[in-house]
Symmetry: C2
Subunit: 454 residues, 2 copies
Amino acid sequence: MNEIPYKIYLTEDEMPKAWYNLRSAMKNKPAPLLNPGTHEPMKAEELAPVFCEELIKQELDNDTEYFPIPDEIYNFYKMFRPSPLVRAYFLEKALGTPAKIYYKFEGNNTSGSHKLNSAIAQAYYAKKQGLKGVTTETGAGQWGTALSMACSYFGLDCKVYMVKVSYEQKPFRREVMRTYGADVTPSPSMTTNIGKKILEAHPGTTGSLGCAISEAVEVATSTPGYRYVLGSVLNQVLLHQSIIGLETQAALDKYGEKPDIVIGCAGGGSNLGGLIAPFMRDKINGDLDCRIIAVEPASCPSLTRGVYAYDFCDTGMVCPLAKMYTLGSNFIPSANHAGGLRYHGMSSTLSQLYDDGLMEARSVVQTDVFKAAEQFARVEGILPAPESSHAIKVAIDEALKCKETGEAKTIVFGLTGTGYFDLVAYQKFHDGDMSDYIPTDEDLQKSFDTLPKT
Amino acid sequence: MNEIPYKIYLTEDEMPKAWYNLRSAMKNKPAPLLNPGTHEPMKAEELAPVFCEELIKQELDNDTEYFPIPDEIYNFYKMFRPSPLVRAYFLEKALGTPAKIYYKFEGNNTSGSHKLNSAIAQAYYAKKQGLKGVTTETGAGQWGTALSMACSYFGLDCKVYMVKVSYEQKPFRREVMRTYGADVTPSPSMTTNIGKKILEAHPGTTGSLGCAISEAVEVATSTPGYRYVLGSVLNQVLLHQSIIGLETQAALDKYGEKPDIVIGCAGGGSNLGGLIAPFMRDKINGDLDCRIIAVEPASCPSLTRGVYAYDFCDTGMVCPLAKMYTLGSNFIPSANHAGGLRYHGMSSTLSQLYDDGLMEARSVVQTDVFKAAEQFARVEGILPAPESSHAIKVAIDEALKCKETGEAKTIVFGLTGTGYFDLVAYQKFHDGDMSDYIPTDEDLQKSFDTLPKT
């Protein structure tokens, strides 16, 4: 009998009662959002037509340490939380490593990922404000599914703009959203001005996340009783996702464990920002000596090859400007099956931490990611999402380094979700049809040239 | 704060150390398997070319109460067990019922169902016997996926015959099996004599479970170092699945709860037989006053409209005869999306219990099942498999009866798995394209006429 169990579950009573605001610990705060017209920092009243009031407060607050989790959200969390922290005994054995590997598994809910942590919070504040509904975009579909579940729970209307290529290739994701009563539209669509404009200019386009954001924002701001919600990038989202890291730390504390390395995949930064929150705080305060690694696809390398600058968050340029590591809002990543990691920019909070040297970043190619995914599935019995598998890949790399050096490091990574809706990608991997295209320096330079001047 | 948590997890130490053999408590033992040629009870040596030795012992043993779970299996169980017993607070509230509803959720593993409980046991005994590999059939794909995972873990070769219609309609299930290294063949195929014969007679056939069984058995018995394994119906399978019921009872005991009604879906009987094992024992012994309800699809109603007789288990008539409630081995159910519930017969153990009046049975039509599934998904946040949703439907019905009478009954049902691979069926339901065809008495009589004379 191992002293540390395979799965560490906190009791419901041990679930964190408040979200932790990592910005409160940062010496250099993330740069503010700018008005795209005036280039002045956005004020709460300017954001009010787009976002819910309480969420704007959370977005702009760099100082408050803890935000209590409202009862209704806390109650809903019990549907799928606390989530297990798994000791990867099977993987350790397969690798023959002295490292201790843990992963926080967020996939045991129908949205299949961590996205539900923020979706239910955002739906709650929309309901509390007396709104009729919310709009959003979704790429791979995890966020759209999570929001559909959350809106169904609070009886809110939910309009999802789904990137057309995903809408067509992932009819099952769409069907789950329908099960929860959401209204799903392929983007670009003829339901918005920006959609019409894009379709006129590019009649055959299969859409992009940036374009779907523009459509969702347009509908939210032009429909009475609606607001827009976003599943990543924003400070408020990282705040809600801090429950991942808080639970992880509480579970490790039970067994006197401290991580030497914390690893997470990074697209917009929602999972990584949540997972690392308490560990980064302790690192900043000098209470914890640990490395924190963001893993991104080599096909969309915003941290490892992007520039740190103000950029548009969306293609239609209707959103505020955000300072972030970015590839330029015109950057179109090559075919990459980790749909959730295809965003051109990175959360301002994580960008600042990276710029301050508090976080490392690494990029990995797709076939290596799927090799790691398959290896993991075979021994740990969970079919990981392609996004999550980026973290698996680097966790395995670090564990193998420990094997060489003989060090028994404690490695913690975020397993954000399951791959049940990503089997077309697994099939391509099995059939040898997967591409590892990496953008050239020229590709990137072209995209950087379109950055706004601020 | 509710005294009983939303999810009751046993600790790893509390996980049952032995499987419970329900047959040991039965006054009327299930009828023995018969040799299809001599109509004499099958002896162990006659079963040896088909099944693994240890599994034959388990199959034929009606007396031993407990079989200790070998360490290797116990260890593997920790990958996904103990599984949660969930108090359905959200569903209770939505129904406005005084009933206390619990469900045992077996879907939190990549096979997506309870099938892994027996798959790992059967793979273990095959490995222990020094075999090279095993063969099996799969319909909906849960069993094939579970066996692929189990064989991958023990380094066994795994040949799966997948009913052709599922093979084509569920490419994703196939892909998960490939991830675990299994060899998947659409059935009927040209790789077996029985497959060739069926394809010659019916060139356009999309296959059936009975036919896939015949092919898998043929390959197992004609290939050195291989045996056949089955995911349901057999006594050994119910034995392994008893861990579901044992955990459920242990979790209820922690809170002093006793079920008034236990509900499970029933196809071949693997989930139901496992879930009810300790409760049925207590009922037989007079220690528990509870109703036990098997729920089957109205399109394939073996308990509610079948006959209790010896019948063939497979289309090719190569398997032993089993006494069971059956619709006749030639019965072809109409299109029904609960692939796991399409078998023409029912486990001999459950058939005997039903015949003895210890168990009730109810049949439900498909659209009602999906209505219940959607209602459940919306409030409990789990997308249920169509099979499992049969149990949900009857649990809701019983809870609503409690609402009428004001009784606070304790209802326990088995949520065997998730519906991630069943979204074509959900889509048909949403689009109003779902049929509720029920076989006529003439349909059934035609099929009964083909029963073997014993």
